[in-house]
Symmetry: C2
Subunit: 342 residues, 2 copies
Amino acid sequence: MTSRRLGRQTVALLRPPSVVSYANIGGKFEANGPLAGHFDLLCTDSFFGKDTWEQAESAMQQEALTRALEKGGLTPAELDYVLAGDLLNQCIGTAFGLRDFQIPFFGLYGACSTMGESLALGSLLLSGGHARTAACMTSSHYCTAERQYRMPVPYGSQRTPTAQWTATAAGCCILGDQGDGPYITHVTCGKIVDMGITDVNNMGAAMAPAAYDTLSALFRETKTGPGDYDLIVTGDLGALGHAIVTDLFRRDGVDLSRNYQDCGMLLYDLEKQDMHAGGSGCGCSAAVLNGYLLDGLRRGRWRRLVFAPTGALLSPTSSFQGESVPGICHAVVFSAGKEGET
Amino acid sequence: MTSRRLGRQTVALLRPPSVVSYANIGGKFEANGPLAGHFDLLCTDSFFGKDTWEQAESAMQQEALTRALEKGGLTPAELDYVLAGDLLNQCIGTAFGLRDFQIPFFGLYGACSTMGESLALGSLLLSGGHARTAACMTSSHYCTAERQYRMPVPYGSQRTPTAQWTATAAGCCILGDQGDGPYITHVTCGKIVDMGITDVNNMGAAMAPAAYDTLSALFRETKTGPGDYDLIVTGDLGALGHAIVTDLFRRDGVDLSRNYQDCGMLLYDLEKQDMHAGGSGCGCSAAVLNGYLLDGLRRGRWRRLVFAPTGALLSPTSSFQGESVPGICHAVVFSAGKEGET
């Protein structure tokens, strides 16, 4: 037995994979934020020394993987799989970033849930006995996202109060079948949830129902509640989405108010940095996890943590065609100890 | 033990998952091709009754999954996972096509290798003991691909002789941990291979080195050669890419000439249908597999078959920025019997 299926969405891993190494990269705004001390590299040049922002995003993924390998004392040849994706059309941030590493590669598209999706699949592959090591990673870049999803940056478009700021960041987490933790003990795979939100400047509202759906499944299927975790972190819902998730659980009589945070609210000082509803982008939750959160787990600040990044599965084309915004949220449970079930 | 890692890229599945059901959908040109008798649905309306081609592509995925479920006597609630992706920006063909099914979903981006990637990950999840059923699927649409990658269809742009024709097609394969076969016995995960091809109208040449790389790894790591398989099928290399792969192996003293075909050459009558180098798009290999190839395996025409679809990991943006075209190829071995190792 490698795992125990607890319900429709949650699998308990009986041989929990361990975090072996991790690294994150950030840009100028991340350097000015409250988590600056938890980055491996902060680069104020938005081009990362390259000619285009897309190339810069690839360079960030390349650098995040290189640093994670170095910190873990590993070579690319020692990685059995890399699972990665990003927000760019056809995921070119990932394809060009990973091109030179010669590692067997599974490309993912989970929008801003990608860090959770890659950890979910990576830990399932490892605990299933198919691999000893897997790198899970993603990135986003403010300037590539703006020109692809919204307006060219030089236009200086005004933002709505519900808008979020795409992080210029990348994160990489290397999992192993051996290691000293933290361990991934549970994986809850998300379903697509679409409550009909059509405002593309309000991703928090669009994705919050997916976070609620996945966290509800996790709690229900593991027979746990918020009190069983030291910290529950969604990924880039921002202030508005965070409030909606809190409210949806309150209606169920579940109190999230004491230990629930969101990566989009952690990465920046929302008021001082004028970040409106908060951070977003695949790189937001990836950078917060592969620095601040894993640092805290390793140092004993938290023993048990739910990491649940959320993604909005839209494109500019789908929005122009009048579609609403489907969301998804993949959750993994990190634990300082190896207990597969509780 | 769930699997045995035979080398850097290949895993032999000791509990080979079985094909439980499959279905495919095609459009007008697929209906006029030589495989028309191997489709579940052929629709001559390029809009599939919807308002836009993107919605049509979603409808095709929806229909392919619905038919595969029906043929297998399954409900969506009986599927543990669906693994899918497509070529559209942010994979909206998949997101909107699967939105209503409420199945735990892992989104993939492997370009035209997606059918292979989904089968690879799906069979690893099943043989790892994490699930009992998984649907693996993808789609492409000529008109959505043309306007996204090339020119709006009404322009009637002239095509180069090396160009391929994006299939309007979708395919879905449902795998189970129980079943009467065919079985997936081996998975070879591809690496990104980029030989510097920059001609975006010559995808066959760009992807052929990836097919050569993955098939070489499969042969080397399983200690087999082309003669050990009844059929080896790459996915949408077309006539030119097929010739390049054959030639690359010939240089190694390996003769592929007797049992090697390509989905891009099977789907259409290249001469009569004026398809230039052949078919392409995620839906090409998906439709050929989930009809012609699986029909043949079930009917005993072939006992052992390598399915190795190829993807080009470019975007219009990467090409405009002068980048070359990285390729990837994921291979799975189908076998009429359950032999995990040979």
